[in-house]
Amino acid sequence: MSFVPGQPVTAVVERVEIQKLRQGENLILGFSIGGGIDQDPGQNPFSEDKSDKGIYVTRISPKGPADLAGLKIGDKIMQVNGWDMTMVTHDQARKKLTKKREDVVRLLVTRKSLEEAVKQSKGCYHKP
């Protein structure tokens, strides 16, 4: 999940579709994000590479829409509804997630365990 500026990023991602929940006036998703290119990447407890300025899931409200959809804490969000999340400011990410006209957000998230699962399955496949 480390990136080199200028090089394409390769990652194993999981597609998570979250239905927004209406709570009064607002549509909420039930998780919190941290990170962004205008933030300090060294403070991110979830990233492996401490210079990674991507958007990470920092908290999931239990039984909220995100929890039900399978989002895990510490996931890095790569795309939201087709919009890239690897090179955005914190505020831009928030805006993309909280558009009032959309009630569903389709996220592409990546986490370490996905990579390992793929490797393991590849390895199992190769054993004769």
Binding site: L29, F31, S32, I33, G34, R59, H90
Partner: protein, 515 residues
């Protein structure tokens, strides 16, 4: 063979003694090569050793050093002491004062010349001279003042007692003296031809002639000032000075100097910067090193042993290195033990001195007058020092012995120092400063006018200027200072302007937004 030995030793010893006396003359006559001073006891391998193939390398130990004509035998220590005494008590060399005396004569001659130019026509053909009025008087006054300035500045610049005798001529100074001499001589020549012979009547011309000489002398003095005093002020080279026996080193920045002048400069700094040379502190204790000596011996059974020696020694060294030895361990523990011992003795010394200092106090004037009913014994500093020396003497002696400084401080010197400290109201810590750290060599010098003998050893002629990569060394009897010259780097200084309004800061963010 024995007779040859005896005669050879006789010559060698006498030559060695002569060599000590005429060290400085030797180096100047020997050209650019180094002059070596042999300490007694080392085998001599110089041009006189014509032994050739049957040279026995141990002959220095098996042959007596004293000549065959004397019946006494003296140990190596005595000999070292004798040579040291010999060196310290060399008679005051007249050579030291030849240079300044010559310079003094020349400058006197140069200063008197304009006056002579003026006076001689007056004395010899006074009546035939044309009178000259106001311009001459103006010239007289300016001449007088210029001579006064010349006199004062010569006194200030050049009439200083020289601090060192150099092995070779000081090039700039000689150049200037020759210049002055030629100059004044040519003026006299012209004077003799143009004024004295035809009995020149134009007195004003003569006065102007004298004034021009004085002007030119002032300019030569300016040249002398620049060459001798100013040129070497701007630093251009960095000298690294390392003492050969214990590695004490310092870096100095000097300007453009010749090697001999740089040597004098370094020695000036040596006496006040370097800690004093202590021969007792040099060697690792034998107990640690001796283990290394018990290696295995290599015996060669061949007929020809000449060409195999390097191979053998290399094999021995390699085998010794491979063998596991723990001498570094012992060295480490020995060092730690020594440190502990020194610290313990130092603590005892400090406590003893502090206590001793509490026994006396300075008598105030009013006290003496106002308390006649408590007559205390009033002492002068010497007696006070002696009174409080006794309780601290033992601790002091033990401490000095542990730090191997006992050779530098006699009881008398300690008492004198104690007296000095008491007189100046110093605290015990100030008194001990002299003993707790090894001071510079100046602290231990006795003042005598004989001077210290150093030998400058260099591969280049000593009047050549310093340049990069030059190495020369200054040798004394038992140690030497090796000096390496590197030029100071050329600095390219750039400029960057920072607008004071450009200093702005933001907080580092790590916000968390819930969506």
């Amino acid at each position: 063979e024995a007779l040859y030995d005896m005669i050879y030793n006789f010559f060698v010893f006498r030559d060695r003694r002569d060599r000590h006396r005429s060290k400085s003359r030797d180096s100047s006559s020997r050209g650019d090569k180094s002059v070596t001073i042999q300490t007694p006891g080392e085998p001599l391998l110089d041009a006189e050793s014509t032994r050739g193939d049957d040279r026995d390398d141990n002959w220095g130990e098996t042959t007596t050093v004293v000549t065959g004509t004397s019946e006494h035998s003296i140990s190596n220590e005595d000999l070292t002491r004798v040579t040291k005494d010999l060196e310290e008590s060399t008679p005051l060399e007249c050579k030291r004062f030849v240079g300044p005396a010559l310079g003094g004569c020349l400058s006197f001659f140069a200063l008197v010349t304009p006056l002579a130019f003026l006076i001689l026509p007056q004395v010899l053909w006074r009546d035939a001279l044309e009178p000259c009025g106001t311009p001459c008087e103006g010239l007289y006054v300016s001449l007088a003042f210029k001579l006064l300035v010349l006199l004062i500045s010569s006194w200030a610049l050049f009439l200083r007692p020289p601090r060192a005798t150099l092995p070779r001529f000081f090039v700039f100074r000689c150049l200037l003296m020759v210049l002055v001499f030629l100059f004044v001589a040519s003026y006299w020549l012209f004077y003799g031809v143009r004024v004295l012979e035809p009995r020149e009547r134009d007195y004003r011309g003569i006065v102007e002639y004298a004034a021009s000489l004085v002007d030119a002398l002032l300019f030569i003095q300016y040249l002398a000032l620049v060459l001798l005093e100013v040129r070497h002020l701007q630093p251009a080279f960095c000298l690294k000075v390392v003492r050969s026996t214990d590695g004490a080193s310092k870096f100095y920045n000097v300007g453009h100097l010749s090697i001999q002048r740089a040597a004098v400069w370094v020695l000036d700094r040596y006496y006040s910067d370097f800690p004093v040379y202590n021969p007792a502190l040099l060697n690792l204790p034998k107990s640690i090193l001796s283990k290394k000596m018990t290696g295995f011996k290599v015996y060669s059974l061949d007929e020809n042993t000449t060409n195999n020696s390097t191979g053998q020694s290399r094999a021995m060294i390699a085998a010794a290195a491979r063998r596991r030895d723990n001498s570094h361990n012992e060295y480490y523990y020995e060092e730690a033990e020594m440190d502990r011992r020194i610290r313990k003795r130092k603590a005892r010394l400090v406590v003893a001195v502090e206590e001793a200092f509490t026994h006396i106090k300075r008598l105030q004037e009013e006290e003496a007058a106002s308390s006649p009913k408590h007559p205390r014994e009033v002492m002068d500093p010497r007696e006070a020092a002696q009174a409080i020396f006794a309780p601290m003497a033992r601790a002091m002696q033990k401490y000095l012995r542990t730090t191997r400084q006992q050779a530098f401080h006699s009881m008398e010197s300690i008492l004198t120092h104690l007296q000095f400290c008491i007189t100046h109201n110093m605290t015990p810590k100030a008194f001990l400063e002299r003993y707790l750290t090894a001071g510079p060599t100046m602290q231990y010098q006795q003042q005598n006018g004989r001077g210290r003998q150093w030998t400058l050893v260099s591969e280049e002629p000593v009047t050549s200027a310093l340049r990069q990569g030059l190495v020369f060394s200054l040798r004394r009897l038992d140690f030497s200072l090796v000096v390496t010259v590197t030029p100071l780097p050329f600095l390219r200084l750039g400029e960057e302007f920072i607008d004071p309004k450009s200093h702005k800061f933001v907080m580092r963010l790590q916000s968390e937004t819930s969506v």
